[in-house]
């Protein structure tokens, strides 16, 4: 494909996908599929989407929410009190415990409710409201980082700063803007600007400058993001995470199956809107999405398409969403849902304590069980 358009123009198109996505999300919220009081602040002109789009927006959000919630709630299970185990200073520094960290051979005290400190990084966050939605429910990580192009983060920062609904959630009187208004910093939420294609060179240092800790278990989210950049650049991100993080869970939601009639038409239609999916040919199937990680040494990976996610809805939940509007697009829905997947993978680097590593893996594994 010839890159006739300047990169800037193509980036504008990528940024524009957030507009599309947020309107779709609000459509689903307004009809009762999703519960989110924050989305409306990002949409100037709401538009009702067709039922199958509402259903897909619902499933997409719900799935990523489930991963996030389970990740936040997952903890390292307490050791049986009879056992004696070595705790390393490293371990005890991480675990919030009322007992004094010690290097002596002792039993690990039961993990208090506050649990192990974690981080969440939302790549290409756009107008995503997950941090706010979750914190409003009492669910939060130690720190939630959001990253996107400066033009996008600037708009988001404005909305956040001027709406009490958002600043109340952040709840930090020292909430600050930075980088000419394109970034926002607080205790547990950080909005950073940057180009994911320069992840290692410019985003990583920025993350670290704002308290990002590679030793903390971290969830990385890519919700229709990596697909828009060259596979070399998305691989670089996956490589960096796998190499530098002590324990991480990576969750990707994006398009697959470019080659069948529907997929080919999808690429054509998107191209007519100047939207390209450079990542889709590199990872065009569920299997290749898994191998994306396992080939790089990640412990475990999985991928399912949106049909599978739809099928795993409880009868009650399916009944609930079916009552929200007429849904007469079963075949078309299945075609569409076959072309989207959620893929996940986790890794934990060898630690001083093998037990700790196993515990981290357990934590991550619990995050993906569903």
């Amino acid at each position: 494909m010839m890159h006739d358009e300047p990169q800037v123009a193509r980036d504008d198109v990528i940024k524009g996908t957030d507009d599309d996505a947020i309107i779709s999300k609000l459509s689903a919220v307004n009809l009762g599929y999703l519960d989110d009081s924050f989305v409306k602040h990002f949409v100037k002109r709401p538009s009702r989407r067709p039922p199958l789009i509402n259903r897909g927006s619902y499933i997409r959000t719900r799935s990523l929410d489930a991963f996030t919630e389970q990740f936040i709630k997952s903890n390292i299970p307490p050791e049986p009190t009879a056992a004696t185990t070595t705790t390393t200073p490293h371990t005890s520094a991480i675990i919030q415990s009322s007992s004094t960290p010690t290097t002596k051979t002792t039993a690990i005290s039961p993990i208090p409710a506050a649990g192990i400190k974690k981080q969440i990084v939302s790549l290409g966050c756009g107008s995503d409201t997950r941090y706010f939605k979750f914190k409003a429910k009492g669910l939060s990580a130690l720190k939630y980082f959001e990253i996107d192009f400066p033009e996008s983060t600037a708009k988001k920062a404005v909305v956040i700063k001027k709406n009490k609904a958002f600043t109340d959630i952040i709840g930090d009187p020292d909430l600050k803007l930075g980088m000419g208004g394109t970034e926002l910093y607080s205790n547990d939420y950080c909005l950073l600007s940057g180009d994911l294609r320069e992840f290692t060179e410019s985003i990583v240092p920025k993350l670290k400058a704002h308290g990002f800790d590679t030793s903390l278990p971290t969830l990385f989210l890519s919700e229709c993001v990596l697909i828009y950049i060259q596979p070399g650049d998305s691989d670089a991100i996956v490589n960096w995470v796998g190499t530098n993080m002590d324990a991480s869970l990576f969750v990707v939601y994006e398009q697959i199956n470019p080659a069948d009639a529907f997929g080919a038409m999808m690429l054509r239609n998107l191209k007519a809107r100047r939207i390209e999916l450079p990542g889709i040919h590199a990872y065009p199937s569920l299997k290749s999405q898994e191998e994306r990680f396992t080939s790089r040494g990640w412990q475990a990976a999985g991928a399912v398409n949106m049909n599978k996610l739809h099928e795993s809805l409880s009868e009650q939940e399916l009944k609930r969403i079916s009552s929200l509007e007429i849904f007469d697009e079963v075949e078309e829905w299945q075609l569409l849902a076959d072309h989207y997947c959620v893929a996940w993978a986790y890794q934990a680097k060898p630690q001083q304590s093998e037990t700790y590593r196993a515990q981290l893996i357990q934590l991550l594994s619990n995050s993906v069980s569903s």
């Binding site: 009809l31 009702r48 989407r49 897909g56 038409m265 929200l324 007429i326 079963v330 078309e332």
Partner: protein, 359 residues
């Protein structure tokens, strides 16, 4: 007003809309015609059977090119004329005119989209508002839909319906006694006929994933054909990637006539040509070539400015600018949903203006 149907048909072939007053009259006259049709209309081959069109007017033109023009070719349309595509108004306008002009050469069966509730969600209502500025045209057509027949039998051998079979219906006579002159109910035999789907993996009836109608299996099909002494069921309603599908050992076919459905599915379409001896041939075709079709953006140009319809064919009489209008009529208690067209979801926005994906 003297209605010149040939002129109306000609201007529709030229992609020009009819004036609202003309539509009103055409719908009135067609209702009178349809009123005397049974719920089961008997016709003879040869006939060309067309499945779902869903407002894909350019593909309907393609169908006439491939299958022949009225009245040279007899046509049986199996419903779902509107919604999803960009030209539901043009599509239903021309089909109504053709029915009125050649009543014995054109049969129109009711599909599940020929319904107030469904067209409020899936685009026809919105398109009417956009093209005419008021909901009057939507009212005229949806009132007309109440009169469309429910089924057709060809040569006493082929039972044709939009969706499928019903657990409440074992014989043709049972269909004849249904009161069809109303909005499609949420359940019951009339709903089943327009909503049901075959399930080759089953033998009996089962709950449908569509939330209306049922799925029906091999034993149901065999029993129905045997009981009514027919040898084939012909229906539409389900997207077929190859344009058609044959099931249950050639006892049932689905014909699907909207290629690249919603500009998204990449599917083929077909029309079923039934010869004088009852021989069946699926004539498969692709979407009409790009350069014969305006882009969705062009199609969205408003045909209504300064209160006066533009680009409309008027047959004398009023300028077609409707009075009052706006807002939806109650859906007669059928198919009500918790959501509805919520005000907080913004104003009228056609469901078909962009080809939507998840981005």
């Amino acid at each position: 007003m003297v209605l010149d149907l040939d002129a109306c048909i000609e201007s529709l072939f030229q992609r020009q809309l009819l004036a609202e007053s003309v539509i009103k009259e055409i719908c009135e006259k067609t209702k009178e015609l349809l009123m005397s049709e049974s719920n089961v209309v008997h016709i003879k081959a040869p006939v060309t059977v067309v499945g779902d069109i869903h407002g894909q007017f350019y593909d309907l033109l393609e169908i006439f090119k491939i299958g022949g023009y009225c009245p040279d070719t007899n046509y049986l349309f199996l419903g779902d004329y509107v919604d999803r595509g960009l030209y539901s108004v043009e599509t239903i306008s021309i089909l109504t005119c053709l029915k009125l002009r050649y009543p014995d050469r054109v049969q129109l069966v009711r599909g599940n989209h020929e319904s107030r509730a469904v067209t409020s969600t899936y685009g026809f209502y919105t398109e009417c508002m956009k093209k005419y500025g008021t909901s009057d045209v939507w009212h005229y057509f949806t009132d007309l839909f109440d009169y469309l027949t429910l089924s057709v039998v060809i040569d006493n051998m082929i039972f044709c319906v939009h969706g499928g079979l019903s657990p409440s219906i074992h014989t043709i006579d049972q269909i004849k006694v249904i009161d069809r002159f109303k909005e499609i109910p949420h359940e019951g035999p009339m709903a089943d006929l327009v909503w049901s789907d075959p399930d080759p993996g089953r033998e009996e009836f089962a709950v449908s994933p569509r939330g209306a109608g049922y799925t029906f299996g091999s034993m149901v099909v065999e029993k129905f054909l045997h009981e009514n002494r027919m040898d084939h069921i012909l229906r539409a309603h389900q997207l077929c990637m190859e344009g058609f599908q044959v099931l249950f050992d050639d006892q049932l076919s689905t014909v699907w006539s909207a290629p690249n459905y919603c500009y998204r599915c990449g599917n083929l379409a077909s029309i079923l040509e039934i010869g004088v001896e009852g021989e069946r041939h699926f004539n498969v075709f692709e979407a009409a070539p790009e350069n014969e079709r305006p882009t969705p953006a062009e199609a969205q140009r408003t045909l209504f400015s300064n209160g006066v319809p533009t680009g409309l064919f008027s047959n004398g009489g009023s300028n077609g600018a409707g009075v009052g209008g706006g807002g939806l009529n109650g859906s007669n208690g059928a198919m009500t949903f918790a959501g509805g067209a919520s005000g907080s979801n913004g104003g009228i926005d056609p469901v078909q203006d962009t080809i939507h994906y998840f981005l």
